[in-house]
Amino acid sequence: MNRLSGLALAALTLGLATGAAADERMLRLKDAPDAATVRAHCSSCHSIDYILMNSPFMKRAGWEAEVRKMIKVMGAPIPDDEAARIVDYLARQYGSE
């Protein structure tokens, strides 16, 4: 971890405070092949409204760049074959190819 210091963190009371986890479950992805793969990978770090709100204007190249950024920059552990299927799903269901 590239943190400046972890010392002060010891003093913190930990706990998620989003209070929104229940509401997040109402979000739905379009029913199509690989929807479950998309949900599993993407929602481990963020709610899927990130996908919904960035639609439908994104082109395939845009979704490809986003998925690549999540893997290369944010460190999302997504195998290549699944990444390709995620891009395909996003481009077809939430893109303007």
Partner: protein
């Protein structure tokens, strides 16, 4: 019948009020369809209903109808986080650490010490997300698709950052001051949200570590127990739940500085530069551009022509001060000066109002534009940039007098 919900959403960008579809839409670049569809009014603990952009990380914006005062109350203030792990910080055990290669006298302070041992400063300042209005970009660009409400104006109270840097014995070779907060990235390999500002900005008398907001402790959602406040600059530098401040001898190198929050060089009329982070083509976003917002009317609204009609709003900039606001009710052919309201300081929202003379029934296009003390103003056409920053396009609202 205008419901509360349609009023809140209608007062905000690309949504027309029920029945408003009959009117010709003059504004281009409304929000993406998927944004409108997925955004709902949600109530976080301690907040009024805000427009949810994303649940996790929590990103919620203030509906335009809430901006009826120069000060944005804490329970209406927008919420923006980069990471999903946001701890509830216990103010009693919270510590702020000062250190870094250019700060030999390492020390830590408790909240009580921060309040007791350093002079308390109060300043009214606009906190505006760099990406405010990104959702109105034409063409659309990826990111959190904000409308007009990723901003707020508060009276911040805290200690001057420079006073803490002096105690830390900051040396002459300091280049940047870096801030880290208690929020944590979802994965170990995800870049932590650490931001830096140039030393000269850190030493500015207005840059503070705030522990009060509008006379109350900071709300959890806005960075309790303390956050950095950099008046005039966009909110990316206003690190929340700050736990660690470091004086660096080298420019901070990270995704959040080198790749994110950057604008093309030379495209915007800005004064403040962040030279240690500039590349050949891009530079970190710095000061807020001159802007204004009409707060009492929304696109597509029907207004009774029998009673007096006023246009009200807010104007702000990067801290030079608003000199003038002008309003047009004839599609921009003629402009008249609006009345400026209370001056809460050069970093604050400046309220303004304008009495409309026109009474003829029918369509009316209302526009407003602000000019600051340097003579800088707003733009008619979007200065397009990939991240969707600095959108200060003059609003055009189609109103129908009935």
């Amino acid at each position: 019948m205008v419901t509360r919900r349609s009023m809140l959403e209608g007062a905000f960008g690309g949504l027309a009020l029920a029945g408003g579809g009959l009117l010709a839409r003059v504004a281009r670049g409304g929000l993406p369809a998927g944004t409108i569809e997925s955004s709902t009014l949600e109530t976080l603990p301690g907040k009024r209903p805000l427009l949810k952009r994303s649940f996790r990380p929590p990103n919620y914006e203030t509906p335009v109808a809430y901006f009826d005062d120069a000060i944005t109350p804490n329970d209406r203030f927008f919420v923006r986080w980069h990471h999903m792990n946001i701890p509830v910080v216990d103010p009693a055990s919270w510590r702020l650490q000062l250190g870094g290669e250019a700060a030999p006298n390492v020390f830590a302070v408790s909240l009580d010490q921060l309040k007791r041992e350093f002079e308390a400063i109060e300043i009214v300042a606009v906190c505006q997300c760099s990406g405010n209005r990104r959702g109105l970009s034409d063409p659309h660009v990826p990111g959190v698709e904000w409308g007009y409400g990723a901003m707020g104006n508060a009276r911040w109270k805290g200690a001057r950052l420079r006073d803490l840097l002096v105690r830390a014995g900051m040396t002459k070779d300091a280049v940047e001051i870096a801030f880290n907060g208690a929020d944590r990235p979802p994965l170990d390999q995800t870049p932590s949200f650490i931001k830096s500002i140039p030393v000269w900005k850190a030493l500015d008398e207005n840059t503070i570590i705030a522990y009060e907001m509008n006379g109350s402790p900071l709300p959890h959602w806005n960075g309790a127990p303390a956050r950095i406040v950099v008046p005039g600059w966009t909110a990316t530098y206003w690190v929340k739940q700050v736990t660690n401040i470091r004086a660096l001898t080298q420019p901070l190198s990270s995704f959040w500085m080198n790749a994110a929050y950057r604008i093309p060089k030379g495209k915007f009329p800005l004064v403040d530069r962040f030279t240690s982070q500039e590349s050949d083509t891009t530079t970190p976003i710095t000061e807020i551009v001159v802007n204004s917002l009409i707060t009492n009317l929304s696109d597509g609204q029907r207004v009774e022509s029998a009673s007096p009609i006023s246009v009200k709003g807010l104007a702000w900039d990067g801290g030079y001060g608003i000199r003038r606001v002008e309003v047009s009710t004839d599609d921009g052919r003629t402009w008249e000066t609006a009345d400026l309201g209370t001056d809460l300081g050069r970093f604050s929202f400046r309220p303004w109002s304008f009495a409309v003379r026109q009474r003829a029934k029918g369509p009316m296009t209302v526009m407003a534009r602000a000019t600051n003390a340097l003579g800088a103003g707003q733009t008619l056409d979007l200065i397009f940039n990939g991240p969707g920053y600095h959108n200060n396009v003059i609003q055009k609202l189609a109103i129908e007098l009935i």
